[in-house]
């Protein structure tokens, strides 16, 4: 098992109280697995990603345990995490376009970063150049300032930089959001290429664009309002979801061959709850068409079939009957 997360709970501290952005997340990511993490804005995707690598205030670690390659990650300790960052766990941030210091040449910045991590830049340079070739960047970028690159080039440069130390786990946070559709495809294919070449062992790809995940992910995990809803292989999530939220989410995606001028595309009625004072029990309860009294308790995230995890009382009942 590459990544094992148990009961990870992270809140945001605000003046009005804790925002319960991530509640008892328990899941695993296997070696070589590309896991998609999807859900609507504010459901805790980015909180989950950041709490794995850079948990800073106003985020507050409440409880939980994270293991990467059978080693415990001290996610709550900014200083001790430094030993793992970059080398074992790395991130392509949401803000990749602004991720590089505007007043340093990219090559200089890379060398200073590597030297500060006690890595010999000279020895790494050939590999760096090889990877620049892979993402179709000229070696000249190392002599340029970030402003001299286009958005897409910066994105690719950050991809190369983040994976340079061959981390076990790479988190790609909304890497495609700011790109047009053709660049999106190129970027996600590069990510798969990185995995296939062994630059990274496993990947968590965060997005709200499920169609991207359908192309590249081995498995998809769906989150809702800070809770995990469902995790299964991509095929199962798309074609045979079990959680009512996943069902509605997938149903609300446009399908090929359907004319939406004749048949209106359906959404999910209602809106997600505020996490400052979330409803007790299952947080999807109020919008759920099949909710019943049992849903006032928080449903556990249970493996109902092999590699298929769901947090829904109704599905547990069905499973018990079957």
């Amino acid at each position: 098992m590459s990544l094992q997360v148990e009961n990870l709970t992270v809140y945001y501290q605000t003046l009005r109280g804790d925002v319960q952005a991530l509640e008892s997340a328990t899941f695993t990511v296997a070696d070589g697995e590309i896991m998609g993490l999807a859900g609507e804005s504010g459901c805790g995707k980015t909180t989950l990603a950041h709490s794995l690598i850079r948990l800073t205030p106003p985020m507050r670690f409440v409880e939980g345990r994270v293991e990467l390659d059978d080693e415990e990650l001290p996610v709550w300790d900014m200083e001790r995490m430094n030993d793992f960052r970059f080398k074992k766990i790395s991130i392509i941030p949401q803000y990749a376009m602004n991720a590089m210091n505007p007043t340093r040449k990219i090559g200089k910045m890379t060398s200073e970063l590597l030297e500060s991590r006690k890595v010999d830049f000279k020895a790494t340079l050939p590999e760096l150049k090889r990877r620049l070739n892979l993402v179709e960047l000229s070696h000249d970028v190392l002599n340029m300032y970030p402003i001299e690159l286009s958005g897409g080039m910066k994105q690719r440069m950050v991809m190369v930089l983040s994976t340079l130390m061959n981390p076990s786990l790479l988190i790609a946070d909304e890497v495609t959001s700011a790109l047009d559709v053709s660049s999106q495809k190129a970027v996600v294919e590069m990510l798969v290429g990185f995995r296939d070449r062994g630059f990274v062992k496993s990947l968590i790809v965060i997005t709200h664009d499920i169609s991207i995940l359908y192309q590249i992910a081995d498995s998809i995990m769906i989150m809702y309002a800070g809770q995990l809803a469902e995790k299964a292989s991509t095929e199962v999530i798309i074609h045979a979801p079990r959680h009512p939220y996943t069902k509605l989410l997938i149903a609300s995606l446009p399908k090929v061959g359907v004319k939406y001028s004749e048949k209106r595309l359906t959404g999910i009625p209602g809106s997600p709850p505020l996490l400052l004072d979330p409803p007790i029990g299952c947080r999807f309860r109020e919008r759920c068409p099949v909710a019943f009294e049992k849903c006032l308790d928080v449903p556990p995230f249970i493996e109902i079939e092999k590699d298929h995890f769901v947090a829904c009382w109704k599905e547990f009942e069905k499973n018990a009957q079957a």
Partner: protein, 330 residues
């Protein structure tokens, strides 16, 4: 690059022309007449006053029409002649100013540069260091809010009057004449310390506060977060933040350096320090057109030169300016 500096130079020349014109105009808007002020000090008989008045008016070139005076002024300026001081007649203004400038530079250059260096580094260090942020920075706020002369008077009172360790007036002991000897140098340093300290402290507070706020802003920038996410040590993250935060501080430094020529008026008045600031006050009180013009000319040149130097410095430290140089935005 050539185009960028060419355009800059044109702007500077235009600014110089306008500023000097205004500089020439302003003293002439003052009510009263410098020659009369000068003569009224010497108690003369009425007919003697008339003769003297005619003589001095001609001597200062105030008898010709105003437009002619303006042209004459530019003409003289290009010959390096700033006129004769009314207040210190018959010394030429250039000589009066040149005597004051070394004291200014000696007082202000170290005060500005040292406070800039120390303030920036201290501010950067204090930012996000809890105990420093909570204890020493309020002191910075108090310092920067302190008027120069108030702190000057306070220092003069404590160290000059109560403790009696530093003199409170003049640039050197009144018992000495300027010459090159250890006694004189020691005296100069001794007199220099209090005005220097009052300037240094106030400016230090300002730089430290500014830098601290800039650094906190930069530490929240995306590139800082990315470095942290890749496990860069605190030292490197801070170094990068500092490099970006220093840019607005450089502009601030330029503006400060530019007014060196103006002296530190109130500080120099408090300590009777014979710099340009002290001179400006005397010139205005005596309606000395030529000395006022001369002093302000120095300020204009100082500000323009400092700005030009900063334009060059920016090109070196901020690559984004270099890119802009080819475009119209420069």
């Amino acid at each position: 690059m050539r185009r960028y500096f060419g355009r800059k130079l044109l702007i500077y020349i235009l600014t110089f022309f306008l500023a000097v014109t205004i500089d020439w105009l302003i003293p002439r808007f003052m009510p009263g007449n410098p020659v009369q002020t000068m003569l009224s000090r010497a108690a003369l008989r009425a007919e003697a006053v008339e003769v003297m008045y005619g003589y001095y008016t001609r001597a200062f070139g105030l008898d010709v029409p105003i437009w002619q005076q303006y042209l004459n002024f530019w003409n003289a300026l290009f010959h390096g002649d700033l006129g004769t001081s009314v207040y210190m007649f018959p010394q030429p203004v250039t000589k009066v100013i040149m005597r004051a400038v070394p004291y200014d530079i000696f007082l202000l250059l170290p005060a500005i540069l040292l406070s800039w260096y120390a303030g920036n580094h201290f501010g950067a260090f204090a930012a996000r260091t809890k105990w420093l942020d909570n204890t020493i920075l309020p002191v910075g706020y108090i310092l920067t809010a302190t008027p120069y002369m108030w702190l000057g008077i306070l220092l003069a009172w404590v160290f000059g009057i109560v403790l009696g360790v530093f003199p409170i007036a003049g640039a050197y002991s009144f018992a000495l004449r300027p010459h090159l000897s250890w006694t004189f140098i020691r005296s100069v340093l001794h007199h220099w310390f209090l005005p220097f300290a009052s300037l240094f402290l106030v400016m230090f507070g300002g730089w430290a506060i500014g830098m601290r706020n800039m650094i906190i802003y930069e530490l929240e920038a995306d590139y800082s977060h990315y470095l942290e996410a890749l496990g860069a040590p605190r030292r490197l993250v801070r170094k990068y933040a500092f490099r970006n935060a220093i840019l607005p501080q450089i502009t601030g430094l330029a503006l400060q350096l530019g007014v060196i020529a103006a002296g530190a008026l109130v500080t120099e008045v408090v300590f009777s320090y014979p710099g340009i600031g002290y001179l400006i006050l005397a010139a205005i009180q005596n309606q000395d057109y030529f000395l006022i013009q001369g002093c302000f000319l120095f300020i204009i040149i100082g500000v323009l030169l400092a700005n030009f130097a900063i334009d060059i410095a920016y090109v070196i430290v901020d690559p984004r300016t270099r890119l802009g140089m080819t475009g119209e935005a420069a």
